[in-house]
Symmetry: C2
Subunit: 297 residues, 2 copies
């Protein structure tokens, strides 16, 4: 698990990290791992990896005997006007990065290996899947939950790692695991940010330098809400009014929602008098970004 | 769980059949079985067992090292006007019957052990779940697929056993297993019939003697279709016309559908020139019955 030089990274990729693209090989490789009694950690990704993804992989490598990362841009979770086609694909550098942190196996299948033409089964969720992203991206969590369940069944991990950046997604996955009685521990790892505060996202690659600078208002708004609550403000309306003023100063950033909610139910709160989720979504140029922060007295 | 007779409990104990009602105990018992490297067979039932169920349990006991039968009247698969409340509950005799064929463990949980109040996750299926029962019982297969997936995840069987009587259900389960990459072999066992031809069903207990006699038209219609095809008839319309005449002779039996379909897609066929599913649903008195037969030249 020691840090490796870029040169060593290449040889690690060549020697230690196995790239698998078919379900048949995946199953047979993991059967060996399981027979040896080794614990398996899963890091599901869509590739275009950044330091946030790598922190998940690092946690898995520390906590599990064998770590599988998956790279699959899942068409089922994109809407018809979403960025499925232009989503960044960077397999070579992804493999090198995963090898450098000690990932044992990378599963990177083609779409047809995952969804056969006659695929007919989907996970539908009420409750935590309905508000926020559920409202702005209809069908998104249906696609996420379906592919994650498929990966859980294919890989049968002991633990699976998700980032808090996609806070609602982690709630949806945790709810699914409880509701469907899956014997899997879900680990949610902290948001990794750029030095300027922007939450790491594969979609940050879409931003021009000007848009990147404007996008900082997302994190600024979350910090402003946290500061107001730290200073004693408890009224959600008052906090939200100030946040909306903040966004009004950056009119090119189109706010979709900024909410203060219960961290478990995602129901909006009137008073911030306990642990509260501040969650924000906005469109900068043609790029949709989300961010969140758990705040509270 | 208070209405269990000492006799049934004793005979189950004598046969070494373990009754389990909680998920925690179920998981710990099955972990031992799995650690011992024994294969697990699952027979999911709603209780009120008949010879059809027992044939599934017998197959599992022959083919697997350890057989789990579940008894759970699943509210999610009943519509608001269905017979959830009056569905027969016969736990004592069910346990004795399962013990007599060698079932190792019976999981019979309360509803709240299976569905927590905050349950939000369901399986939705297109394709094979849409026609026939899907049309007459909206939400039925959603409930079936959801509870079967939960049982699969709880028990993690090597094989699971279903009856051909619920032909479409077995297609739905097979589709789900493929689509969600479950490492489970689905076994579909033949319909068991009364000596007079009526397909065994827990709901037959609802029938009066008169209704039972009338209900024989279901099996008679399937045999008639098979005979016509065996005699060279290939035109589906001609077969269906004769079947409708047959039902017209028993006006108290309200036919819901009689179809000739592709056995895999359930799409209706115009010509019976290969293996074809004949499937029928009808209401007799207040009891809804289904039956089917695979026919063809």
């Amino acid at each position: 698990m020691s840090n490796r030089s870029p040169a060593a990274t290449e040889s690690a990729a060549a020697m230690r990290t196995r790239l698998v693209t078919t379900i048949a090989v995946l199953r047979s490789e993991l059967a060996k791992v399981r027979r040896a009694g080794r614990t398996i950690g899963l890091v599901p990704t869509m590739g275009a990896l950044h330091a946030g993804h790598l922190s998940l992989a690092q946690s898995s490598c520390v906590e599990c005997d064998f770590t599988v990362a998956t790279i699959f841009v899942n068409p089922a979770q994109f809407g018809p006007h979403d960025d499925f086609q232009r989503y960044p694909r960077t397999l070579d550098s992804d493999l090198a990065a995963l090898a450098s942190v000690g990932v044992d196996l990378v599963f990177a299948p083609e779409v047809l290996e995952v969804y056969r033409p006659e695929h007919a089964t989907y996970i539908e969720m009420r409750g935590p899947a309905e508000p926020l992203e559920g409202r702005f991206r209809p069908g998104h969590f249906r696609g996420v939950a379906t592919v994650v369940l498929k990966l859980f069944n294919l890989i049968q991990p002991d633990r699976a790692y998700f980032g808090q950046k996609d806070y609602q997604q982690s709630l949806v996955i945790r709810r699914m695991v409880v509701d469907l009685d899956l014997p899997i521990e879900i680990r949610v790892c902290p948001i990794v940010r750029e030095p300027d505060g922007l939450a790491m996202s594969s979609r940050n690659a879409y931003l021009t330098a000007h848009e990147h600078a404007q996008a900082l208002v997302l994190h600024r708004s979350l910090r402003r809400a946290a500061e107001m609550v730290a200073a004693g403000e408890r009224d959600a309306k008052t906090v939200l009014a100030e946040i909306h003023e903040l966004f009004a100063e950056v009119p090119e950033v189109r706010l979709q929602y900024f909410v203060l909610t219960d961290p478990e139910t995602l129901e909006e709160v009137e008073r911030v008098d306990r642990k509260t989720l501040a969650a924000v979504a906005a469109v900068v140029g043609t790029t949709r970004l989300i961010d969140n922060l758990v705040i509270g007295p």
